[in-house]
């Protein structure tokens, strides 16, 4: 399941937002992943980890979907937006 395989199969286009240190590591604040229908958040992260620079991401990632924290088992649907959140440091 990579961003480039199964182009003819139904696909989800899921935007992924990156912030702070993670945006620096991947060289962009936003990328779009092409994922199979029914893909989980965890599977989307596996595809994200194939991107250049992603090897430096930590093993555990905080993920939000549509502005709320989400578990790795959650299934993505069309229109979802993911955000990968570095350790928060507000306050």
């Amino acid at each position: 399941m990579t961003a480039t395989t199964r182009r003819s199969a139904p696909q989800l286009q899921i935007p992924v937002l990156l912030f702070a240190r993670y945006a620096e590591l991947l060289g962009t604040p936003r990328l779009e992943l092409e994922l199979p229908i029914g893909c989980t958040v965890g599977a989307a992260l596996a595809v994200l980890r194939e991107q250049p620079g992603a090897e430096a991401l930590p093993a555990q990632l905080l993920v939000a979907r549509n502005l709320e924290r989400v578990d790795l088992e959650a299934r993505l649907v069309s229109g979802d937006e993911l955000a990968i959140l570095p350790p928060m440091a507000g306050g």
Binding site: A20, P86, P87, M88, G90
Partner: protein, 148 residues
């Protein structure tokens, strides 16, 4: 009114938001920029955020606090560049009695630190800079080099 702001935070404005006839006590908290972190001398810093989620999460925090305690909450967090001594976060909690105001104020701040997607980049006196990671032993995110 948005919770994130690029401009100076007015505690008076927050206090005004939680002041009404039933309020007998208002607890406030100010988080200000200090000049050191984990032994490093800090010259200034910059907060960045995931604005849409930070606004949503602050809204959820305020709702949760107001349902856990009989209180009214006002909250503001700066984003962008800040100098030493500037207010980074301000909380005002008004309630009929002091205990709820103190408890809710403390709870909001602790939750905010864990839940609101805001990041802090520190610029040190020696010219280096780093993203802060409160969960890391060094206090900064791994893979960065910042002298001590």
């Amino acid at each position: 009114m948005p919770y994130l702001t690029q401009t100076v935070i007015s505690l008076d404005a927050l206090v005004a938001q939680v002041t009404h006839a039933q309020v007998g006590g208002i607890a406030t908290f100010l988080g200000v920029v200090r000049d050191h972190h984990e032994g490093r001398s800090v010259r200034r810093l910059e907060y960045s955020a995931y604005p849409a989620m930070a606004e949503a999460e602050c809204g959820r925090l305020v709702s949760e606090a107001e349902s856990r305690w009989p209180c009214r909450v006002a909250l503001a967090h700066r984003v962008g560049p800040l100098e030493i001594g500037e207010t980074a976060v301000a909380i005002a909690v008004g309630s009929a009695h002091r205990a709820e105001a103190f408890e809710a104020c403390r709870w909001i701040l602790e939750e905010l630190k864990h839940r609101v997607p805001i990041w802090k980049r520190e610029y040190y006196v020696d010219g280096s800079e780093a993203w802060v990671d409160p969960t890391a032993p060094s206090g900064i995110q791994s893979g960065q080099s910042a002298p001590r």
